[in-house]
């Protein structure tokens, strides 16, 4: 999955070339190659900054904006509910203007949107990586019936219209479940539905890797020394699939950011009034964007920049750790 699948969460990209790990030197030589990749390094720095902004959003906002959920009706035209002034009421006090209808500070909401976006995307990716790695290793290492069942399961998940299923799942989850409620539950559900449709991508890669590693001497050796299935899987196989998993996990993050934004855009994202980029775009899409493009540009460009940075970093990692897959 080298690129965001966009329309649907279903894979639109063939399983990428398999990385051939050669032990410790791979990490070092990969790092050396990565350091030379300027766009990837710049993206990395940008993403670290973004993470800091997300973590310290309250500080940022207290310095440069207003609380993200605080309405400012006085800034709106009472007849149209649109902000007074040009560019969504942009000013030194409201760097990116205010939202229509309730006058909330767009700058603050964009900053806070990064929190949801990164949190959901990272957790969903972690979910996909954990499930994908475990099941991919099981399928590849145990083979036979296990492999058949897991491979069919992956086929099944890639065959369903995933956005639709994701929305349906979100729609049927009650407001309190699994000991969670409120935003915690919503984020949990989002992580689950995004992760559950994303793990087969990792699973396929891991399975392919393990299939080629299974017959190698060091595995044989470990087995002949009496190592159990789990020892072999986690001691011997896991370190060897770590590099490709890391690379493709990085490339899965931007896809998951887009998926989170898509679900929010379709109205099944986090709970209001929590700020999220997809939700801000949804607000803009109800005609407001035609009146003041800033409503759409702020969240849209935030998504774009973040996804682009992750893609650049992911491409860089792939080129560095999997030279065959790149240029």
């Amino acid at each position: 999955m080298t690129a965001p699948p966009g329309e649907m969460m279903v894979e639109s990209v063939a399983a990428p070339a398999v990385v051939q790990p050669e032990g410790r030197s791979l990490w070092r030589s990969g790092w050396i190659r990565l350091r030379r990749d300027k766009p990837a390094m710049i993206s990395g720095v940008f993403l670290i900054l973004l993470a800091l902004i997300a973590i310290f959003a309250p500080v940022m906002v207290s310095l440069l904006g207003h609380p993200p959920n605080e309405p400012h009706y006085d800034l709106l035209d009472p007849n149209t509910a649109a902000p007074r002034g040009r560019f969504g009421g942009m000013s030194w006090h409201y760097l990116l203007g205010v939202e229509p209808v309730n006058g909330r500070d767009i700058f603050s909401r964009t900053v806070y949107g990064a929190r949801v976006s990164l949190l959901v995307a990272l957790l969903a990716t972690a979910t996909a990586v954990i499930i994908g790695t475990v099941l991919g290793m099981l399928a590849g290492y145990l083979g036979g019936l296990w492999d058949t069942i897991i491979a069919r399961l992956m086929d099944l998940l890639l065959s369903v219209p995933s956005v639709l299923f994701a929305i349906a799942i979100v729609a049927v989850i009650p407001n309190k479940a699994f000991g969670l409620s409120g935003s915690g539950l919503r984020i949990g559900v989002l992580v689950f539905v995004i992760g559950i449709f994303a793990w087969p991508y990792i699973g396929r890669i891991v399975r392919g890797q393990v299939l080629s590693l299974r017959e190698r001497e060091f595995i044989e050796a470990s087995r002949s020394l009496g190592a159990g299935t789990f020892t072999v899987m986690f001691r011997e196989l896991l370190p060897n699939v770590a590099a490709p998993v890391l690379v493709y996990a990085t490339l899965l993050i931007p896809t998951n950011i887009l998926n989170e934004a898509a679900l929010s855009y379709l109205g099944v994202g986090v709970r209001p009034p929590t700020a999220s980029w997809g939700d801000s775009l949804a607000v803009a899409s109800h005609g407001w964007y035609s009146i003041e493009p800033i409503f759409m540009l702020a969240p849209g460009l935030a998504i774009f920049a973040t996804v682009l940075a992750f893609n650049l970093l992911g491409d860089g990692l792939r080129d560095a750790f999997d030279p065959r897959g790149g240029r």
Partner: protein, 596 residues
Amino acid sequence: MKRRANLIRMGALAAAAGLVLAACGGSSGGGGSSGGSNGTSSGSSSSNGTSSAGASDALLHPSDKSGGTLRALNDSDCDYWDPARTYYANCWDQQRWISRQLVTYSPQPGTPKLTGDLATAVPTSSDLKTWTYTLKDGITFADGTPITSKDIKYAVERVFATDVINGGPTYLIDYLDDPSAPYPGPYKDTDPNKLGLKSVETPDDKTITFHLNKPFADWNFVMALPGVTPVPKAKDTGANYTFKPVSSGPYQIEKYTPNKIITFVRNPHWDPKTDTVNKALPDRIEVTMGLDLDDVDNRLLANSADFYVGQTGVQISAQNKILGDPSLRKDRTTNDVTGFIRYLSVMTQVKPFDNVHCRNAVAYALDKTAQQLARGGPVGGGAVATTMLTPPLKYYKSFDLFPTAGSKGDVAKAKQELTACGQPNGFSTTLASRSNGKEVAQAEAVQASLAKIGVKVTINKSAPSQYFSSTIGIPANVHKNGIGLAMAAWGPDWPTPYAMLSSIVDGRKILPAGNSNYAELNDPAVNSGLDDGIATTDEAKAQRIWTDTDKAVVKSAAYIPLVYDKALNLFSDRTTNIYFTSAYGMADFAQFGVVK
């Protein structure tokens, strides 16, 4: 057995738009009101100002020119074209093209009067239980067969067959059924002519008499609903009648492709001499359905279509265009109070709202101008509301029991009430809302208002279809989920206080499922007001009873009126005879004509 609440199904199942019943009209100057009665704010005063700029009471482009094709647009199809099953306000309005009832609304702007349609006149009843109608001569179906009183009785009976004919209002069952021997509907009727309903008598082909099981002053309004449209038994196809209803009105269906298009042509057997209501000016009517709402606006702006049958008002970008173009606004739009009310339901059986002071705190804390903005502002959204009865309704009277400066809320008073309630530091609660339309923005505004007095609100969004039937319509669910507040809206099936209030405030109608008295308000003053009001024939007495009842409801703070809905509707430059009628809360489609 109470069957169905009296409301026009709005948005409950409708797709995007949210509200189905639409808007227009507040003849007497939308929103009169209350927003302004105590301390005028720039917001609410401009709301009054703008509403008068609309068409209220006005008749736009009067003309008697006939001919041409009227081109209507809609985002979705009607729920049913079977007159007994449809429950959308705009569909009732459209039914006027193909169906006639015993009585109907007179063709005039503003608050309409009932007038005879198939019946010669609108009867009165001294006991409010026995109602007799006499049919006109020369009335026929579209195939030329004369319409008799038996056809009307048969139509009434169909409504009883709820296993086949469902979806529409059920007043007929409520008032005509014998609970000791329920009538099963004509399909299971043992009577050879399938006319076994005892409470309706047809002594001859011209006379029909209804014997109600209890007094009901609004019965004539029930007779104006499309459910009483005559149905010829020979042509009744049960559940499939919706695809080919037999016309009794000036037009008949030419072609119907569900969700796409329905076209109407003149009914050759319609005799204008028997019909004093329908102008029937166009030769042909086309309703194109399944359109995106922005697309609808654009087509209307471009005059490539004449009107939007949903009548819920234009979308934001078109509204912006209209507000920036005074001549467009003046000549081609209406902007009336529809009769629909947006309100906040405060659950009296959920802690701490079992204490009236906590409810009062909410009533004082709410910034109603924020609600108005969330609905779309004074033009597109509506006027700040202070009463549960809405301006287009009979017996509406303005008052404000929770006045705050500029309707923006009063934090100090709200905090006093909180202290009185024993919650000086606030509390946490859950606010339910539908997940679509403008309700989420409203919920967020409630959340922001209550945050100011330390009440922490969690918003619980539900799919619109399950919102009323399960989320807030099952009291057990409300209690279990701790839903203290709920966004709600109501539109009456006909423009009287009883139609507005009986289902939503009657303490004896709190049902374990399908409940519409969401707050579970059970106030003796309200209950008796409803009973007295509907049994009164005296106008002055009725006015007093209904105003007192309205005040009792608002005073309970179980229901907090927020906004009287308004809609800014756009018409093509060739549409004629545009005026608002509170009968449907929108323009009267039956009078439209086209020039050019």
